[in-house]
């Protein structure tokens, strides 16, 4: 049994190059997937809070552009099976010195969703700040939004980065600020099993609105599809770049080791043995690369999460299923990247390999 570790130690420089190439690719796949997944999960979590059904303007591509009459929220709240319906305005505006901040206008009954760490729920002309932005802005007493001054009445803590880096005000003030009545309604139910019938009832209320269960909304929301597709495309590019990197490095390795492989063939070791040997070597590198990439990615995500610059908006999470997926991708990447040059070498006559390899 040939020890792959010995071969890797012998070819230290190229082993290091393959290791770096693979680690960078795996880290890229990890970060892209974790960050895009984080965006989707943060927004989903925000919508799912007290929201079994989401009501938006019909046919709208993005909730930021949705405009519905918030008086309908009261009608919905009286429907059978509905526990509560709240209006929400989603907007974004600059808050000096930050160029863009998420602004959430919420109806009275939704303030309970925010855990205040200090102060009180906002009245007209007041806002509460997420703890992240509160720190970034260095504990302001007031903030300016669209040339209007708002008093900071409290600070809340949210595990959802978008909210923790955002500003929450009452829906009336937000309506004035963004010139709309409401972006969406979040409807909570007494009995989830009745969600389809409630959705149907809401949809008959007004032809300009569209109700969906939260899960169905999240599944069909265009922005999520765009984020997921972009993430998949960029992830696939990182995967391909990784394979190309490994193929080119392994080609160099195979080229350098033609004599060795020629000798092995000449003493009766089969091509399959040589291919397995190369695969074993790359798999070892892949395992180390995966471990390092996982560590680096966790570190980078931790840094990003706490970086004031990102206001907590970028909040990636590496779940077990993501780690497992990337692990499988890493192994496939290593195998595909190695197989091509290994099969090429295995097809050449032993003596030709030895002669081409030189002494």
């Amino acid at each position: 049994m040939i020890t792959p570790l010995k071969a890797l130690r012998k070819n230290r420089f190229k082993t290091a190059l393959i290791f770096i190439s693979m680690s960078v690719s795996i880290t890229a796949i990890f970060l892209i997937s974790a960050i895009s997944g984080g965006v989707v999960s943060m927004y989903s979590a925000m919508l799912k809070t007290d929201g079994d059904i989401i009501v938006t303007q019909k046919g709208i591509a993005d909730t930021f552009f949705s405009d519905i009459n918030r008086s309908m929220a009261e009608e919905i709240s009286k429907m059978e099976g509905v526990r509560e319906a709240g209006a929400l305005i989603l907007g974004a505006a600059p808050v000096e010195p930050l160029p863009i901040v998420g602004i959430y206008g919420v109806s009275e009954n939704r303030f309970k969703s925010y855990t205040l760490t200090q102060g009180f729920t906002p009245k007209n002309g007041e806002v509460i700040l997420g703890s992240k932005i509160y720190e970034t802005l260095k504990h302001p007493k007031t903030i300016i939004l669209s040339k209007q001054k708002f008093v900071v009445s409290g600070v809340f803590k949210s595990r959802i980065g978008f909210e923790d880096g955002g500003v929450v005000m009452n829906v009336h003030d937000a309506g004035v600020l963004f010139h709309k009545s409401a972006s969406i309604f979040l409807v909570s139910l007494n009995d989830l099993a009745k969600s389809d019938s409630v959705v149907e009832k809401i949809n008959t209320l007004n032809p300009d609105i569209e109700a969906k269960t939260t899960d169905s909304f999240i599944d069909s929301y265009n922005q999520f599809k765009i984020i997921k597709t972009s993430s998949d495309v960029i992830g696939a590019m990182a995967f391909l770049m990784g394979i190309l990197g490994i193929v080119s490095m392994m080609s160099m390795v195979v080229n350098d080791r033609k004599t060795e492989f020629g000798i092995m063939r000449s003493i009766g070791l089969s091509s399959a043995v040589i291919i397995r040997k190369l695969l074993a070597e790359t798999l070892i590198i892949a395992l180390f690369s995966f471990a390092i990439a996982l560590g680096v990615s966790l570190g980078v995500l931790e840094l990003i999460e706490h970086a004031d610059k990102f206001q907590g908006y970028i909040n990636g999470e590496i779940t077990f299923s993501l780690a497992l997926k990337v692990f499988v991708v890493s192994i496939i990447m290593a195998m595909l990247g190695t197989l091509l040059p290994a099969i090429y070498a295995a097809r050449i006559d032993p003596m030709t390999l030895i002669q081409r390899g030189g002494s």
């Binding site: 071969a7 003493i267 009766g268």
Partner: protein
């Protein structure tokens, strides 16, 4: 094992290196292929040992073509040994690991190493032993599965006279035990050990002497 080569032609690109070569190597014989550098010795040896496919012509082993031998790797491992001019030991493996690389029976490795006087060097790497010891290890690797025939290409090319004679003596010893040897060399001394001498020139066999 009787080896027959029929109408072997071989080209490297446009260079015609073997021209219509017909040769028979008798089972268990000690055959020397001699000739100047570039006469085609190494190419013929590579083709006879299955390490290189000829451009045209056929090689038969006990009357069977290479295609009829089954798995060529298994055939090489069981039947053929090869000693190169350079030892070509794998540098990241110890001498023992190199010899055991293709060994069918691991216990044969130690016995052979002792028999060739390199038993004490088992744990050494090739760059930690002398040129003669490296070549002995390479010979041990070729002999470890007791092949029917060992091919050797200029096996003493990098050795001094004393070590070169030692290699020939080893070949003679194993030849007397029944292993066939086909040795390509420009060293005329090999002729003293061989029972068949094939002389090559410009890709052709010009003379065959039998003792």
């Amino acid at each position: 094992m009787k080896i027959q080569a029929n109408k072997i032609e071989h080209y490297y690109g446009i260079e015609h290196v073997l021209r219509n070569v017909d040769v028979t190597i008798e089972a268990g014989s000690f055959t020397a292929i001699i000739g100047e550098s570039g006469s085609g010795k190494t190419t013929l040896l590579s083709i006879l040992s299955t390490l290189l496919n000829p451009t045209s012509g056929a090689v038969m082993f006990d009357g069977k073509t290479i295609g009829a031998l089954g798995n060529i790797d298994v055939f090489r491992r069981h039947t053929i040994g090869f000693v190169f001019q350079f030892h070509y030991l794998i540098s990241y493996l110890t001498l023992r690991e190199n010899i055991a690389l293709s060994a069918l029976d691991d216990t044969a490795v130690e016995l052979l190493m002792e028999s060739l006087g390199i038993g004490r060097l088992a744990a050494r790497y090739s760059d930690e032993v002398s040129g003669g010891e490296r070549q002995r290890a390479a010979i041990a690797r070729a002999l470890v599965n007791r092949p029917a025939v060992v091919f050797a290409d200029e096996p003493t090319g990098n050795l001094d006279t004393k070590n070169a004679l030692g290699v020939y003596e080893l070949f003679k010893r194993f030849s007397q035990e029944g292993t066939g040897f086909v040795v390509a060399s420009h060293d005329k001394k090999i002729a003293e050990y061989a029972d068949t001498i094939i002389e090559m020139e410009d890709g052709k066999i010009v003379k065959i002497f039998k003792r």
